[in-house]
């Protein structure tokens, strides 16, 4: 079941990336193309079969997991700054692209590298489950979630404001869907960062629902974009 969901998500990401390609060539919204390209990398590397073979090529020291984390950071950095600009929130945009946002991004990326080198990670293991008892691996996972939680939180407020404004229904539904998706990303990251016994069922549902909601929100934006009044 999980495998089917993952392969479906991968196919969706590949399709979106290919679909954004012509727009990227014309120089329109390059950020979105790269966000989808990075999302494709992240989803692909979260599938164990792909992870093991890629990591094997890279020396079998789980460097693929670092690539996975950093590409997720890129996805969130690009998507969050686009959403902040789209919903006209200079504050959220500063919190992502400004000094504070970049500091958090650099801190988390540095944390990933430091904890990676501090751990003993010989032998490919998807999700680093074989090494979960090492404290540095736990810190590594914590850094991986910290940035996602931060970026998601920054986008919750502008999307919420747009959803409760007097915009047309479709635009408000799109903003609402994005907002709910980012709330769930935040919640999922928070659950994983706490030392509680992780309920795996809950996590799976949260992550998958958040992907669905964000995708649905973007789809609604595109529908609204296609139906936009052309002559103005």
């Amino acid at each position: 079941m999980t495998a089917i969901l993952q392969w479906t998500a991968l196919a969706a990401c590949v399709i979106c990336t290919l679909w954004r390609f012509p727009a990227m060539r014309q120089g329109r919204n390059r950020g979105l193309f790269w966000a989808f390209a990075m999302a494709t990398v992240s989803v692909a590397l979260s599938i164990p079969a792909i992870y093991v073979s890629v990591d094997g090529l890279l020396g079998g020291v789980n460097i693929a997991n670092v690539i996975l984390r950093l590409s997720l950071f890129t996805v969130f950095f690009l998507l969050a700054s686009k959403v902040a600009a789209a919903y006209n929130s200079p504050l959220a945009r500063r919190m992502i692209r400004g000094p504070v946002g970049l500091a958090v991004l650099i801190l988390c990326s540095a944390g990933i590298w430091i904890t990676y080198f501090a751990s003993d990670l010989h032998g490919s293991s998807p999700g680093l489950t074989l090494f979960a008892e090492q404290p540095s691996v736990r810190a590594y996972a914590w850094f991986g979630k910290l940035y996602l939680a931060y970026a998601a939180l920054c986008t919750v407020f502008p999307t919420w404001r747009a959803a409760s404004s007097g915009r047309p229904l479709l635009d408000r539904a799109a903003a609402m869907s994005l907002c709910a998706g980012f709330v769930l990303v935040f919640a999922a990251s928070l659950v994983q960062m706490t030392p509680w016994e992780d309920p795996p069922q809950l996590l799976g549902i949260l992550s998958f629902a958040s992907i669905l909601l964000v995708t649905a929100g973007l789809a609604m934006v595109w529908i609204s974009f296609i139906r936009r009044p052309t002559a103005l």
Binding site: N29, L32, K82, V83, A85, A86, Y87, N88, A162, S165, G166, R167, P168, D171, A174, L218, V221, W222, S224, F225, R228, L232
Partner: protein, 244 residues
């Protein structure tokens, strides 16, 4: 805006006799299923009453007066004030009249009388409320009918006003009870007892100064509306630019 289904059935039996619902609907141009649904829910819309009434050549005002909510409507008809008449002249017609008068004073008389567009213009609800009301008319109406002031505002900015609100506003403002129904486009001026050409006469009799000041008010509120629309468009544009 609805009347009870039971009252509607009684009224229909009184005016249409034994004519079947299907025939009534066909004549009135409403869907059979729409009426059936309204009857099942127990609430028939006033638009249905008006459509049936028109198809039977009955005065809509008299028909509505058969229902408890509107029982004083027919007796409460009053000719519109000149402010009300002017409020139902569109911005374009108002400005055209001003221009025509300027041209006449510059280039001599010109016999052509301005043909007015229909009374339910783009902001006719707001202009009518402004024309009849004391300053706190909206607040009083919302309190009287028991709806939230922002719901009333939404209707006004959408140039809509339910029949109940229109009649309540007219009652509070002390004008003819059906006049608000003309502003909301529910009734034609004739159906509310307005004389044909009354708006043209009122427009012609308004002195230049009053006309220009009225036009200035209209342009100011049009400017506000346009600014809001532009801000909304900009916001949508921004979303499309960044995520589209």
């Amino acid at each position: 805006m609805t009347v009870p289904a039971k009252a509607f059935q009684q009224w229909l039996a009184g005016v249409a006799g034994t004519t079947s619902h299907a025939a009534v609907c066909r004549a009135a141009g409403i869907k059979r299923s729409t009426l059936a649904q309204q009857l099942v829910r127990g609430r028939v819309s006033v638009a249905t009453v008006a459509a049936v009434s028109r198809s039977l050549q009955l005065p809509v005002v008299d028909s509505l007066s058969a229902f408890a909510k509107f029982n004083d409507l027919a007796t409460g008809l009053k000719p519109p004030t000149s402010a009300e008449l002017l409020s139902q002249v569109s911005d374009t017609d108002l400005l055209t009249e001003i221009l025509k008068r300027r041209q006449r004073s510059d280039a001599g008389p010109d016999a052509a009388v301005l043909e007015l567009s229909p009374p339910h213009h783009r902001a006719s609800v707001r202009t009518w409320l402004d024309a009849v009301g004391p300053a706190d008319l909206r607040a009083q109406v919302a309190r009287e009918v028991g709806i939230a002031p922002q719901n009333l505002s939404t209707q006004i900015s959408g140039n809509r006003l339910t029949a109940e609100l229109a009649v309540a506003s007219a009652r509070i403002a002390g004008v003819g009870l059906a006049n608000g129904l003309v502003a909301s486009g529910f009734l034609s001026p004739g159906e509310a007892g307005w004389l044909p050409g009354a708006r043209s006469v009122a427009l012609r009799q308004t002195p230049d100064s009053a006309l220009v000041l009225l036009a200035a008010e209209r342009l100011e509120s049009l400017g506000r509306t346009l600014r809001r629309i532009e801000a909304d468009t900009d916001a949508a544009q921004k979303v499309w630019e960044n995520l589209g």
